[in-house]
């Protein structure tokens, strides 16, 4: 019962109240005697059963007293044993025994479990604590920074003896909040908002420094930024600035898209021009070679019989021309200058199939340049009323 009470001699903060214990002890004693059915109104009348009971009782008390020294250190814990209030030893996990009260006492400390404390919110980011999160930046803007700190107890002795910690979450939260505010206070708003890991790193270093200075025995595991936001009042403006950034990137990529469209096309056009030119060159040369070869052959024959060949060539050519074209034979000497030729009619007739505009042609067959003058003819027509 009271002796086996887990509070007893174990987790007491500060020294146990001796008077209180004595009172309890005496109560217990009285009740035990009473329970045996041999109430001792005076010790003078005690007999054998009382004697046996007494021995038994003393033995029992001693056994219980010694037994109260057993305790268990859980897997993630260390036991800190104090002898008369002075640190005696650190015990590892497992069942242990210390000398019972009032000689020794033990306190177990969790040294492996990661503990976590949130600043700016509790449990969930929605559950905001604005007075913790609102911070001033170096350029005198206001931001809301919510973050979480993970830590564990590395040195149970320091953890127990150096600081009055009480609630270790609150203890770390205070340190972390102060450190974060100091870091944010030296950083400008854009860095805090958009490079928060950098801020977290700096804050982490500062937090550890402070924890070390207080000899808290706590080691910081990490600092996680949960949320960094501009205050609600200016959120819209910040959002718009972010959109503007996207607009800028979009416009840049639009420009690049245009460039990526235009330049390859231009390169294509350039390649086409060059190929065409190359084609022109080759074809012109080939034609020249062909023409030259042909001419050489003909000229060879021509040289053998110039007169006949010449006439034959001339007549062949004329025949070919006249057989394909529309002809008008006009003997000017018999007519006058105002000869009327319905050229347009002729044109229409011949242009029945082709859409292309017909073009009147003048030729000076062979070597008689003064015979027919189409131009004069046309001029004459135009000159008519």
């Amino acid at each position: 019962m009271a002796w086996n009470d887990p509070d007893w001699g174990k987790k007491s903060n500060g020294p146990p109240d001796l008077d209180e214990i004595w009172r309890k002890f005496n109560d217990k004693l009285n009740r035990m005697f009473g329970g045996k059915g041999t109430p001792p109104p005076s010790l003078g009348g005690a007999d054998k059963p009382a004697f046996n009971g007494g021995v038994l009782l003393v033995g029992l008390i001693v056994v219980i007293w010694l037994g109260s020294g057993f305790y268990i250190v859980n897997a993630r814990e260390r036991g800190v044993v104090l002898r008369f209030g002075k640190f005696a030893e650190l015990t590892m996990p497992g069942p242990r025994w210390h000398m019972p009260f009032p000689i020794e006492s033990v306190e177990n400390v969790d040294v492996e479990g990661n503990r976590i404390t949130e600043i700016g919110y509790r449990q969930s980011v929605q559950n905001k604590q604005p007075h913790e999160a609102t911070m001033l930046t170096g350029d005198k803007s206001i931001v809301n920074v919510s973050f979480a700190v993970q830590y564990r107890v590395a040195d149970p002795q320091k953890f127990l003896f150096k600081n009055y910690i009480g609630d270790d979450q609150a203890f770390v939260r205070q340190v972390a909040e102060s450190a974060m505010r100091e870091v944010v206070g030296k950083t400008n708003v854009d860095t805090v908002l958009y490079e928060s890991t950098q801020v977290a790193d700096k804050a982490g270093k500062l937090i550890q420094q402070m924890l070390d200075r207080y000899e808290s025995g706590i080691i910081l595991q990490n600092v996680t930024i949960s949320q960094v936001q501009p205050p609600e009042q200016v959120q819209a403006a910040f959002d718009d600035a972010n959109r503007a950034d996207q607009d800028r990137k979009r416009q840049q990529s639009e420009g690049e898209a245009y460039a990526n469209n235009v330049i390859p096309k231009a390169k294509g056009t350039a390649a086409r021009l060059l190929q065409e030119a190359e084609g022109h060159k080759q074809s012109v040369i080939a034609r020249a070679e062909g023409d030259a070869a042909r001419f050489r052959q003909i000229v060879a024959e021509y040289n053998k019989a110039p007169g006949v060949t010449r006439d034959r060539l001339y007549l062949d050519a004329m025949q070919q021309i006249f057989s394909n074209t529309t002809k008008l034979l006009v003997d000017q000497k018999g007519g006058n200058n105002l000869l009327y030729l319905p050229l347009d009619k002729l044109m229409q007739q011949s242009a029945a199939e082709a859409a292309a505009p017909a073009r009147p042609a003048v030729t000076e067959p062979a070597r008689s340049p003064d015979q027919v003058q189409m131009r004069d003819l046309l001029r004459n027509r135009e000159g008519r009323p």
């Binding site: 800028r248 245009y258 012109v284």
Partner: protein
């Protein structure tokens, strides 16, 4: 026998009671002040089992660990530019001199903290009044805290307390000032947004203009090279023609002319108005007599 046992028990009990009034343990975390009829006899600063005279001496335990004093609310403090700031801080303190601590505040933590709170407030006011917002927020934050610590520590020694650290937590604008800060932030963002959009448009224009320029250059250069190539071809062709035709220029003129006539008049749309007196019609009207 039973009488002896009973007597033994009683003796043991009495001994226990006397011992419990005589011995006391001093915890690792504590100092013990031994008082004799209200007067301090000694201060036990080392942990362990200690003895005192029962009944006339009693013991007061003083926690020696570092404690935290957190100011309950933010204080409104004015900086050197007369701007109201909400300031929140905490103080790490511990009992350095248990005797002094007992004498001055009766080892009463509440009383000690009330005194410290007063010191902190005065200290904060003094430090902030001579500094600008910039200084207290970023520039001289550490100096403010260190100077506060020193000053408060000096005063606190009087009550046996050592100041381990003073930390500023919140240093914020008061609500009234905050509104103008928001406005300023908003305008700053508007400026940033405009600048970004303008740069975006400018960049786009620049990139497109550059692309157009490149396009022009590429095509013009290609044109140049193409013309050069064509010229080479034309020149080569001209050379070939010249070489071939120079063997008989007169015949070439005749031959080429015939080709040209054939090429020029080859459809029904070409109308020829002819004079029968031309060379071609030499025999048309006059069959001749053989030979010219």
């Amino acid at each position: 026998m039973s009488r002896n046992l009973a007597t033994g028990l009683v003796v043991a009990l009495v001994a226990l009671v006397v011992m419990s009034f005589t011995f006391f343990t001093v915890d690792q975390r504590e100092d013990a002040i031994v008082l004799q009829l209200g007067e301090i006899v000694s201060v036990k600063t080392r942990p362990g089992l200690k003895a005192k005279i029962p009944l006339i001496q009693n013991v007061v335990f003083v926690d020696r660990r570092v404690r935290t004093l957190d100011t309950p609310d933010s204080d409104l403090i004015i900086t050197s530019e007369k701007i109201n700031m909400l300031v929140d801080s905490f103080v790490k303190w511990r009992v350095a001199d248990a005797k002094q601590y007992y004498v001055s505040v009766r080892a009463d933590e509440k009383a000690a903290e009330a005194r410290l709170l007063q010191l902190v407030r005065d200290g904060l006011r003094a430090e902030f009044n001579k500094r600008t917002v910039d200084d207290v927020v970023s520039g001289q934050r550490e100096q403010v805290m260190e100077s506060l610590r020193k000053n408060i520590d000096r005063e606190a020694r009087a009550i046996g307390v050592e100041i381990v650290d003073v930390r500023l937590k919140r240093v914020d604008y008061s609500e009234k000032v905050a509104d103008s800060v928001f406005e300023q932030m908003r305008q700053e963002r508007v400026r940033v947004a405009n600048e970004r959009r303008a740069t975006g448009a400018a960049d786009k224009e620049k990139i497109q203009a550059d692309a157009d320029k490149q396009q022009e250059i590429i095509i013009a250069e290609a044109y140049r090279d193409a013309q050069r190539t064509k010229g080479e071809g034309d020149a080569k062709a001209a050379a070939i023609y010249a070489q071939a035709y120079s063997t008989n220029p007169e015949f070439y003129a005749f031959y080429r002319s015939l080709d040209a006539y054939k090429e020029s008049f080859k459809t029904r749309q070409d109308v020829l108005v002819l004079d029968p007196n031309s060379e071609f019609f030499k025999y048309f009207k006059n069959p001749g007599r053989g030979g010219k």
